[in-house]
Amino acid sequence: MAGATTLRLGAAQAIGQTRFEARAATRETALVKWLILGTALTFFAVFLLMPLIAVFVEALRKGWETYASALVDPDALSALRLTLLAAAIALPLNLVFGVCAAWAIAKFEFRGKHFLITLIDLPFSVSPVIAGLIYVLVFGAQGWFGPWLAEHDVKIIFAVPGIVLATVFVTFPFIARELIPLMQAQGKEEEEAAVVLGANGLQTFWHVTLPNVKWGLLYGVILTNARAMGEFGAVSVVSGHIRGETNTLPLHVEILYNEYQFAAAFAVASLLALLALVTLGIKTWIEHRAAHAQHDLHEGQP
């Protein structure tokens, strides 16, 4: 399922090229061209651009003061802290997993490899609501470990650990799926040479593998981060919506919205939209850098 989200290495160059427009055989008549372009751009403007602009316009509808006060509200700040905390735990966990999974899958041959990749993809194809539900079934009051947890006074569901678990689940495949194809394409000759020359496993990974996959890894990390901070459905199921305690930023947006505090809801939402824009900015920058690195490699330059 991750196919659509993986880094496009040639993207930066492909966007700049005009080879199709330069030849008569690959060109449409001006009328057809403007028809396609006009339709595509209108669709883009209506479905992508307008919602984005609407977030900021609605956020500032009641002026900067309302905007600022919505952001420094104690409940908003505690939601921000929880969002950052959940991302700060989920990210390293999935990073270690992603690197391990990619190393095992890309550098070794074993039976059931394709099946394993499919299993890693599973969280992408599961509804976020079900992602929350499964942890309720395991750790909730009615769940497998519910009675035991209650006895030992450990709260997972309707508490912070549940939110972290749900976040880990929805961001589970991102880094692994980014690294696996890259590391497979890289082959293993360079690593084998390093090992033969006496490097140990960690040195080999750090000095040989990592420099080759750093852009893909970084892309996986920012995707994971964006999804971790923005997840709504899964977190909503396990959160319990306790203000100031188990509310993340997206849940805080929902609460404000349902209380008809629209300007405040959009103010907090604009913070998340800004995060999305920064994520896309970094992504574009990574694609640019990765394309240049690849270009230099082909040209035989350092």
Partner: protein, 278 residues
């Protein structure tokens, strides 16, 4: 078992694979198995009663119908957008190319309230639709709009690389053999792009069926009319009906797994058709 252990130069196979399997099992596989085990507590008749209750069936119709329609809309307009991004040069192209991924990066709740604001009666788009008698917000049509939004990048991003890799020679050959532009598209380009287009369609559909955050704000959530299936799970959970919620989740999971296998098959087909790596 072979007598000689395969010799591996690179270290770390055992630990990394072991960790991968343990982490995967603990966080994904075992919790997912809980859904099926919990459902197994029901007799088949009880299960059938829950998953075919009229309100739940109405939610399937809405979820699947709107998801299919949204994926189809995205297939058409996503192909056009990918085509424009690959073939034409126009101002702001790089920015538009970067913003296509917005639905991946924008939290679903934010998308939900923004779309609701746009399509409400007094919203930027809603005010023009209202006189035409078209209501989007808080109606089934709202579900469609939200699902189109979240599905768009799946189609664009699966089709775009295939279009970029197309050799101009193919179309030149078609033209020199007397094909019209439309014929070249229909008989030369489309067969190459089709598997990727279908993959994008399936990805957008799979995502749409499970989508929750962006839909619930704009749908209005009226029983029998504009309730999506994931919302039915939430509703059952809020009534502490865990077995009911789990039974519906089982139906959705089986569909998701089927789609996942189908998409894997489609991606293999794309790879075969275009000679690209998956």
């Amino acid at each position: 078992m072979s007598t000689a252990k395969t010799f591996r130069v690179l270290p770390g196979f055992g630990p990394t694979l072991g960790y991968t399997l343990a982490y995967l099992s603990l966080l994904v596989l075992i919790p997912l198995a809980a859904v099926f085990l919990k459902t197994a507590e029901l007799t088949f008749a009880e299960f059938w009663n829950v998953v075919t209750a009229p309100r739940v069936v109405a939610s399937y119709k809405l979820s699947f119908g709107m998801s299919l329609l949204a994926a189809a809309i995205n297939a058409v307009f996503g192909l056009m957008l990918a085509w424009a991004l690959v073939r034409y040069s126009f101002p702001g192209k790089k920015l538009i190319d970067a913003l296509v991924d917005l639905p991946f990066a924008l939290p679903t709740a934010v998308a939900g309230i923004a779309l609701t604001a746009l399509y409400a009666k007094n919203g930027w788009i809603g005010q023009f639709l209202e006189p035409l008698g078209i209501q989007v917000a808080f109606k089934p049509l709202g579900v469609l709009v939200a699902l189109v939004f979240i599905g768009l990048p799946f189609v664009v991003r699966t089709v775009q690389p295939i279009l970029e890799d197309l050799d101009t020679e193919l179309e030149e050959a078609a033209t020199s053999l007397g094909a019209q532009r439309w014929q070249a598209f229909r008989h030369v380009i489309l067969p190459i792009v089709f598997p990727a287009l279908l993959t994008g369609f399936a990805l957008a559909f799979a995502r749409a069926v499970g989508e929750y955050g962006s839909v619930i704000f704009i749908a209005g959530n009226i029983p029998m009319v504009s309730e999506i299936t994931p919302l039915m799970i939430i509703t059952k959970l809020e009534q502490y009906d865990y077995t009911g919620a789990t039974a519906i989740a089982t139906v959705m999971l089986i569909l998701s797994f089927t789609l996942l296998l189908l998409i894997n098959g489609l991606q293999a087909w794309t790879a075969k058709r275009t000679g690209r790596d998956r």
